[in-house]
Amino acid sequence: MTERFVTRGFVGRRSSGGPEDVASRIPPGQYITRDFPVLSAGPTPRTPLEQWTFTIQGLVKQPLSWSWQEFQALPAREWTVDISCVTKWTKLDMHWRGVSVDTLLEGVEIDDRAAFMIAWSDGGYTTNLPLPDVLNGQAFVAYEYDGAPLAPEHGGPARLVVPARYFWKSAKWIRGIRLQAEDEPGFWESLGYHNRGDQWREERYSGD
C-alpha cells in the first residue's frame, strides 16, 4: 500500500510504551511483555544431562564434542539482552548466563569455506545463521536464565541466544552446530518465515 491506511477509531495505548529510551528499544510491530511466553512446535524434549553433549562439526578440521560437565567448565559470562519474538512480543533486559559462540569455536580449526552455521536441537529442530552474524559476541549458548538453570520449556538445559534476530533463531534444546559453505533453511525458514529474521528490518516472513 502506497498511502498509509488509518484504522477507523484506533488510538492505541502509547502511554504503556514508557519513556522514550524504552520506546526506542521496541522494534517495529512489537509490543512489550513482562511474561516469558513459550512457543514451540512439539513436545518439550527431555535429555538427561549425563547423555547430553554439544558438538561442533561440518567444515572444521576436527569435530569437537563436550559433555555437560565439560561444557559447564568453559568460560561463561552474564548477558543482559532484549529479545523479540516474531509473534510480536519483545522482552527487555533478559538476564542469561552462557558461553559465547566465539568461545565455542576457539576449540576448532575452521575451514576457510565455512560461511554458515546450522544449529540443531533435540527433537529435530534446526535454524540457519550466516557465520558473521554469530561471531564477535553476537550469539551465545545459555544454560541459566535469571540466575536459575534454564527451564525445559524455555529450551533447557541449553539454548542458543541470538538477540539481534527474531527468537526462533535462538534454537531451544541446542545440541550442536554444523559449519557449512552453503546456506540451508532451517525448520521455520522452510515454512514461510524469513531466512535472516532481523527484527529491526521487520523480516518476519519470506519475502519481507
Partner: protein, 246 residues
C-alpha cells in the same frame, strides 16, 4: 525469492458473539490466496498520527469459505488490540491484514488417519478451522476434540461443535469444565490429565495425529502426558495461545 505477504484491506463482513468475552469477525479479503486449516493472519492497526500495532490471530474458518476468513478474538481487558476489536469494530469497517502465515500447525482432509485435537479456551480456534474443513470436505476419519473451558458459558463454538458431533461422520467432542459445572453435567470436570487423554485417545489408537493449542501450562502437560502414554513426539504438534496475545 518468495512472493511477499502484502498487507491487504479486509472489509468486516460480519460480527458474531461466541461467548461474553469472545467474538468472531468475518473478513472479506480482496487478494486472498487461500489458507490451510491451522494457519493465522497478522492484523495491523494504525492511528491518525501513524502509531501502529500488530497482532496474530488464528483463522477459525475453513478454506472453502475463501475469500472470506473468520478470526475469533478473546477480549483481554487490559489489552491494546482486542478491546478495540470488540468495542469499536463494526461491519463495514476495514482492517489491514496479511497472511496466511504458519506451515507446521496445519491439517488438511487429504491427510488420512485418526485425529486428536486438544484445545484450551480460545486455543480451540485453529482446531475449529480443521474441524470445519473436515466436515466441509466430507472426510470420515475418526476425529476427537477434547476441549477444556472454565465454565459452561465460556465454551467457544459450543452449539456448532455439538451439532457436528451429532452427524455421525466420525467426529466427536469431549468437554471438560475446570471451574464451574452446570447441574447434571456429564462431561469431565477437571484439568486435562493423562487419564483423560488416555480415555479420549483410546478409540483413535496410538497412531493418531495430535494437535494441541491453548495456554502454555495446558500444552506442556498434555503433550508430556501423550508422550508418556506412548505417542512419538513427531506425532504431536503444538501451538501456544497465551494471555500475552492481547
Amino acid at each position: 525469492m518468495a512472493r511477499p505477504l502484502d498487507w491487504q484491506l479486509a472489509t468486516v463482513a460480519g460480527v458474531h458473539d461466541e461467548t461474553d468475552a469472545v467474538r468472531s469477525f468475518s473478513l472479506t479479503l480482496p487478494a486472498w490466496t487461500g489458507h490451510r486449516p491451522g494457519q493465522h493472519v497478522d492484523l495491523r492497526l494504525t492511528s491518525e498520527d501513524g502509531y501502529s500495532v500488530e497482532r496474530s490471530y488464528s483463522i477459525a474458518s475453513e478454506p472453502e469459505r475463501a475469500p472470506e476468513v473468520d478470526i475469533t478474538v478473546e477480549r483481554i481487558p487490559d489489552g491494546e488490540v482486542s478491546p478495540f476489536l470488540h468495542d469499536v469494530v463494526v461491519p463495514g469497517d476495514r482492517l489491514e491484514v496479511r497472511g496466511p502465515i504458519g506451515g507446521y500447525f496445519v491439517w488438511e482432509a487429504s491427510q488420512p488417519g485418526p485425529l486428536l485435537l486438544v484445545g484450551g479456551g480460545s486455543g480451540v480456534v485453529p482446531l475449529m478451522a480443521m474441524i470445519r474443513h473436515r466436515a466441509r470436505a466430507g472426510a470420515m476419519n475418526p476425529t476427537r476434540l477434547l476441549l477444556s473451558s472454565r465454565g459452561p458459558g465460556e465454551i467457544i463454538y459450543r452449539e456448532e461443535l455439538d451439532r457436528l458431533s451429532a452427524t455421525q461422520d466420525g467426529f466427536q467432542v469431549a468437554h471438560t469444565l475446570t471451574r464451574e459445572q452446570p447441574p447434571g453435567w456429564s462431561g469431565y470436570a477437571r484439568r486435562i490429565d493423562e487419564a483423560m487423554l488416555s480415555e479420549v485417545l483410546d478409540p483413535l489408537g496410538r497412531e493418531a495425529r495430535v494437535y494441541i493449542c491453548g495456554p502454555t501450562a495446558l500444552v506442556e502437560s498434555a503433550a508430556n502426558a501423550l508422550v508418556r502414554i506412548g505417542l512419538a513426539p513427531s506425532q504431536i504438534r503444538t501451538e501456544r495461545f497465551g494471555p500475552t496475545g492481547t
